[in-house]
């Protein structure tokens, strides 16, 4: 307490001190600012006054110069007769101060001019002419003259004849440079002067700091903006000077008397600013010195102000300690305060005594109660009072001071309310003591007047336990009653029913007391009682029993018995319940019969499937056999084909037929991949072949497809089938191809040289659902030249999807890139790429590819048939040596020989013929080895050959850096050897 008083007094003393210092500083700053402003204003006024004097001087000088010039001119005209005006003007122009001079008649026409060119010019629009004409007085105007292209001071005055008649006006244009030179010579270097026209354009200017620069034209005249002036300010200028400070300059300006415009003066205010800074530092220094003086003064002032306060504080302290009844000294400064304190303190002591008495009574009453009662301070939550029962409950902790009850602390942490407006009660379970407490709380005013929380806590554990027991019994009973089957608890010794649901009593008499009475309607226990077995085994028992229900029907029950053990681990009670499983049992029996039936049916279906598989196998063979085994050999044309059905049996079909000098190629795709699809394909083949054999003359694609459509409708196929077909007919003499598509959405790709084309011709598909009138077979034509490659494919390949993209773009890219390769190579490349794209060659739909090439001239080819024995091999060697024009290198030949030797070694039947075809072009060497029988070439055999080639590359392979591939056709009757090599030349 003492420390607090001392600290408070110190703070108060500091406060007095600082207030004094702050007040003193404020006064100093305000005084300083007033002095600063006054001096600055005076300084600027002084500068402006000097500027005004300068401007007045210049204005006077200009007026004097112009008046003198005017008088001189007037004198000249007075002494000259009108006839001499011409000479007069010529004399004047020799003076450099004149730009031009004219004598103009009242009609505005030039009658005399220093430059004869101007004679006859009209001055009607001239401002100074009009003014002189109207006022018959001399006038001056500053302007820009378009005819002489110069700024100028025009002086005009009327000329009167001897008889006083006014007939003519003399106009002289003074060069402003003349005045500028005179004034500049008299000019101080520290200031700038601008003379502006009334429109604000600078007319004259002198002074070193006027810069003459600008983007528009080099050395432009200065602008009033260079002085920091705006047009509005100039327009508002009067005869009295005005001053502004812009860009560290004091600018003073005013309108000059007469038509001469504006004069502006500018001087740097750097000096003023320097003076002002010095002044500022002086004021700052003064303030600092004043501040130093204010420190002891402030200290003295604070000490003096604190003295009576300290005396009074001491008195108050003694009174509060009880060392004296009241404040004794008179304390003139605080007499009112002292009197009020003494009276209030006396009242407080009286009230204190009364409260103490009341508190004792209150405590005695509450201590006598067995309910714990607590009073808590609402602000800091400390316990103000705890009765005896409360001390017994929380007494250990109550020794601490200040003490916060544990549940109050918990509530304070969870920010719960402590100020119930009305009485509030709740129940709480204490997990530590395993007790239930009932709390009641309300807010009241404590003896010292503050609002406190009065609370009572009562142990209600016993009441709670009773309530819980009642609730548990009711719960178990409810569960038992909800069971749909009988449930019993039987005493082991007496067999008496101790607990049973109402369903159990439906077994027998409602009054039955024992299990045998209830279940078996007996008056004594059964001889073979399961309870005995459970007592023996101590294990639960489940068994089935068959009996008849009340209505005499057979029912199967599943009985369950469980032992209940007492504290001594002996079987004391038995739980017994039965479940009616009659329906389940019946269902199980029915299921057994069904399973037997299903097994029989499955066997029947299996047999059917087996038969069907055999049929499909046959159909596959029929479909495959109907695909062309060999493709006709045509001079200058190579054809390769590939077919991969989506399922076992495909809907795609292709055929290549040569009839006389025409080649017929078609690709068809029929909806469905089953036997039906294959049958329709067979129909197409049959229809086209029969047409070609019968109609030898009209073999255009249109006529063939019309025939196909007619036949198809005649056969009356069901509506769900659609035939998509693309037919190409090539004239083998001219290589002109005519083509036609029906429902063929993927146009064949054609590359002729470097030109990439699409043979678009997709009409409607052939189907009985599509009316015949809608079908319009319009064929198109294209001329195939050497080096043409054509790719025909059904939708299976281009429409194959991977994610969202399909294979179409990639197919086009790979075809157009490799279109110059032989067809089998192109097909091989597409297959490899598709495998990489799709993971396997098996697509979602049938894949059919047909590549036709009109062989390029650069490719050379030879063909030989040999026996598959050593004799044949020798023939091959001999043949190869004869192929000089092919330049079949020895290494290539040895590779080929190696392959043939391999074929001879691995096959017993050596007498069969090998057809060998060699093609060479600058990029590759392509060898085809063909035998008659299918499936002759096997993948594994070829693989070992390739590996061998790689192992012995140096010895065997054609050349280093070359790349050799071997592959088979899908029938297995052709093996291909492909050597790609950049370095192989023709």
């Amino acid at each position: 307490m003492m420390l607090d008083i001392e600290r408070g007094q110190k703070t108060l003393r500091w406060r007095f001190f600082f207030q004094f210092i702050v007040a003193s500083l404020l006064v100093t700053i305000i005084m300083g600012a007033i002095i600063f402003r006054t001096i600055r204003s005076n300084l600027l006024d002084d500068y402006a006054q000097r500027a005004m004097e300068t401007m007045n001087r210049y204005e006077e000088r200009i007026h004097v110069l112009l008046s003198l010039e005017e008088e001189n001119l007037a004198l000249l005209y007075r002494i000259s007769s009108p006839k001499e005006y011409g000479n007069l003007l010529r004399i004047l122009i020799e003076k450099e101060k004149y730009n031009a001079s004219w004598i103009v008649n009242r009609g505005g026409t030039v009658t005399f001019a220093d430059n004869p060119l101007f004679l006859g010019y009209s001055f009607l629009g001239n401002h100074v002419f009009k003014k002189a004409l109207l006022q018959e007085e001399p006038s001056i105007h500053i302007c820009f003259d378009h005819t002489i292209h110069s700024r100028t001071i025009q002086i005009a005055f009327p000329l009167f004849l001897d008889d006083g008649r006014f007939e003519q006006i003399a106009i002289h244009e003074l060069n402003p440079d003349w005045i500028e030179e005179i004034l500049a010579a008299e000019h101080s270097e520290q200031e700038d002067i601008l003379l502006l026209s009334n429109g604000g354009v600078v007319f004259l200017g002198f002074g070193d700091s006027i810069y003459r620069r600008g983007f528009y034209e080099p050395g432009r005249p200065p602008s009033l903006h260079d002085f920091g002036l705006s047009l509005a300010e100039i327009k508002g200028a009067g005869l009295q000077y005005q001053k502004i400070v812009r860009d560290d300059h004091l600018v003073t300006y005013k309108r000059m008397e007469g038509p001469l415009g504006i004069i502006a003066h500018r001087v740097s205010v750097e000096k003023i600013e320097n003076d002002l800074w010095s002044l500022f530092y002086l004021v700052l220094l003064g303030s600092f010195i004043a501040l130093l003086l204010f420190f002891p003064l402030g200290n003295y002032h604070a000490a003096r102000a604190m003295r009576p306060i300290e005396r009074l504080s001491k008195e108050v302290e003694l009174t509060l300690k009880g060392e004296q009844e009241e404040i004794q000294e008179p304390h003139k400064e605080f007499s009112l305060l002292v009197h009020a304190f003494n009276r209030a303190y006396a009242e407080k002591r009286e009230a204190q005594r009364e409260r103490e008495l009341t508190y004792q009574g209150f405590k005695t009453v509450l201590d006598s109660m067995d309910t714990a009662i607590y009073v808590v301070d609402l602000k800091n939550h400390t316990t103000l009072f705890l009765n005896r029962a409360g001390e017994e409950a929380w007494g250990q902790k109550a020794k601490k001071s200040p003490f916060i009850l544990p549940f109050i602390k918990e509530r304070a942490h969870t920010n719960q309310s402590f100020t119930p407006s009305t009485e509030r009660s709740w129940e709480s379970f204490d997990q530590k003591d395993n007790t239930w407490l009932e709390y009641r709380e309300m807010s009241i005013h404590w003896f010292d007047g503050r609002e406190v929380l009065l609370g009572m806590a009562r142990d209600i554990t016993e009441r709670k336990q009773r309530e819980e027991l009642l609730q548990t019994n009711w719960f178990i009973k409810s569960i038992l009653e909800s069971l749909p089957y009988p449930f019993l608890v039987i005493d082991r010794e007496s067999r008496k029913i101790q607990l049973a649901n109402s369903t159990a009593y439906q077994l027998g008499s409602k009054d039955a007391k024992t299990c045998y009475d209830l279940i078996y309607n007996r008056n004594k226990p059964c001889e073979e009682c399961i309870i005995n077995t459970i007592v023996e085994t101590r294990e639960p028992i489940t068994f089935e029993k068959i009996q008849k229900d009340k209505e005499g029907r057979r029912e199967v029950l599943e009985a369950h018995s469980y032992p209940i053990f007492n504290d001594r681990r002996e079987v004391a009670k038995i739980i017994y319940y039965t479940i009616d499983i009659t329906e389940r049992k019946e269902a199980e029996e029915r299921l057994k019969e069904y399973t037997k039936d299903i097994e029989e049916k499955r066997k029947e279906i299996e047999d059917l499937y087996h038969q069907l598989d055999q049929e499909i196998e046959k159909a596959v063979k029929v479909h495959e056999r109907s695909l062309p085994k060999t493709i006709p050999q045509i001079e200058e044309i190579s054809i390769g084909a590939y077919y991969q059905p989506a399922k076992k049996l495909g809907g795609d079909f292709y055929h290549v037929i040569k009839k006389e000098d025409r080649l017929f190629i078609y690709l068809s795709d029929v909806t469905g991949h089953g036997i039906d699809g294959a049958m329709v394909s067979a129909f197409i083949k049959e229809a086209i072949e029969s047409y070609l054999s019968l109609k030898k003359d009209t073999t255009s694609p249109g006529s063939i497809l019309s025939h196909l459509d007619r036949q198809y409708r005649r056969e009356n196929y069901p509506e769900e089938y659609f035939i998509c077909i693309f037919l190409l007919v090539i004239d083998l003499n001219t290589f002109e191809a005519s083509y036609l598509g029906a429902g063929f959405q993927n146009p064949p790709l054609l590359k002729i040289g470097q030109r990439q084309m699409y043979l678009v011709n997709s009409g409607l598909p052939i189907s009985t659902t599509i009316p015949r009138e809608l079908l319009a077979f319009k064929e198109k034509r294209v001329l195939l030249t050497k080096n043409s490659s054509l790719l025909l494919t059904t939708d299976g390949l281009p429409d194959q999807k991977r994610g969202r993209e399909n294979y179409d773009n990639r197919l086009q890219e790979i075809f157009f890139k490799n279109a110059s390769d032989p067809p089998e190579v192109i097909i091989h490349r597409i297959k490899e790429d598709f495998k990489d794209y799709n993971g396997s060659l098996q697509g979602d739909d049938d894949i059919t590819l047909l590549v036709l090439e009109v062989e390029p001239e650069r490719r050379k080819g030879r063909h030989i048939e040999i026996e598959r024995d050593m004799q044949g091999l020798k023939r091959l060697q001999k043949w190869a040596l004869s192929l000089e024009d092919l330049k079949l290198e020895e290494k290539i030949l040895s590779s080929l020989e190696e392959l043939i030797v391999l074929l001879i070694e691995h096959d017993q039947d050596r007498k069969k013929t090998l057809k060998i075809h060699v093609q060479i072009d600058p990029k590759l060497i392509f060898v085809t080895i063909e035998v008659e029988e299918e499936e002759f070439f096997r993948e594994d055999r070829l693989k070992s050959f390739i590996e061998k080639i790689k192992r012995e590359e140096n010895r065997l392979v054609i050349e280093r850096e070359s790349y050799t591939t071997a592959f088979l056709n899908d029938r297995g009757n052709k093996a291909f050897l492909l050597v790609e090599k950049n370095g192989i030349s023709n």
Binding site: G120, F215, P221, S223
Partner: protein, 321 residues
């Protein structure tokens, strides 16, 4: 480098025009403007510069700081096509020849003499006019080329007097030459009609034409017609002269004036430079100067030139059927 600031109150907003003028290296000026843009985030638009090569510098700055940029003089279309922040306000005399042809038609295909000075921008126009007239079968009696300093045309006028077939004299002369030519023609042939290129005309020249009796035909921007009543354009011309420090306005002043007006009219609806850019891009309205249309690249698609006859100290629109 001089910095000048002018204020203009536009619908409660204060618009500052800050002018950068320079005579030194353009790189230096460019760096200074760049520094200024960096330190002043409130700049709404850039205007300038004189030539295409210099305009390119400003265009780069406009792109860097994303501020709309309006150019009056650059002729290089690629500046505006490549930079979405740059717009052109070049007054292209696209239909100048058509208007001159209209006047020729109005004068009922007169026989004419054409006089041209050697200033390239004027001379080329003269050549285009001659070609166009020859193409459309008009009669050109004589073509004369003169130096741009030549002010004495008396010999030429004397020659004209002897030509009986002459109906019209067509001039492609500079401003000063045209004043002298008219004064001299007025003396000798005060009734011969004169047709001049409108490129050199501006309203403040008109007082020089008082007392000239020759009918004068030309073309002029639409707003020249109301020049005497239009205080706004008056005050702009004053400002323009003062800013450039010259004593007269020239024929490019109206273009700049028009461009500034356009920016001012769009500023109230644009709260940011990007909104101003969008407003410039989509601008298709009518204004004081008549209908001027921007295309998407910022070029004016049609202009406001009208055929005029000059008399009584003002421009009068030529009314023809």
């Amino acid at each position: 480098m001089a910095l000048q600031t002018t204020k203009d109150k536009q619908q409660g907003k204060t618009v500052f025009h800050q002018t950068f003028t320079y005579t030194d290296e353009v790189d230096e000026a460019y760096q200074e403007v760049r520094e200024h843009l960096k330190n002043n985030q409130t700049i709404m638009a850039l205007v300038g510069d004189v030539s295409s090569s210099r305009t390119l510098y400003l265009s780069e700055l406009a792109k860097e700081f994303q501020i709309p940029h309006l150019s009056f003089f650059a002729t290089d279309d690629s500046i505006f096509e490549e930079n979405p922040w740059s717009f052109s306000y070049r007054y292209r005399y696209a239909d100048e020849l058509e208007i001159l042809q209209t006047i020729i038609d109005y004068l009922d295909s007169p026989s004419m003499v054409v006089i041209s000075c050697d200033i390239s921008s004027i001379f080329n126009r003269g050549q285009d006019f001659i070609e166009s007239m020859e193409y459309s079968g008009e009669t050109i009696l004589q073509t004369v080329d003169v130096e741009h300093q030549k002010m004495d045309f008396t010999d030429f006028i004397e020659e004209l007097k002897s030509n009986d077939e002459l109906d019209l004299i067509v001039t492609f002369l500079n401003e000063d030459q045209f004043v002298h030519f008219l004064q001299q023609l007025n003396r000798e042939m005060p009734h011969l009609p004169v047709l001049t290129t409108g490129l050199i005309l501006h309203p403040q020249m008109l007082s020089s034409f008082l007392g000239i009796h020759n009918p004068i035909y030309s073309f002029a921007p639409y707003y020249y017609l109301s020049y005497l009543e239009d205080t706004e354009i008056h005050s702009f011309f004053e400002e323009y002269k003062i800013s450039l420090g010259v004593h007269r306005i020239d024929s490019i002043a109206p273009w700049i004036y028009d461009g500034f007006l356009l920016l001012h009219s769009l500023l109230p609806q644009a709260k940011s430079p990007s909104q101003l850019r969008e407003a410039l891009e989509t601008y298709q309205g009518d204004r004081l100067l008549g209908p001027i249309y921007f295309n998407q690249k910022g070029f004016i698609e049609s202009n406001t030139l009208v055929p005029v006859e000059i008399h009584s100290k003002s421009f009068h629109e030529l009314s023809y059927p």
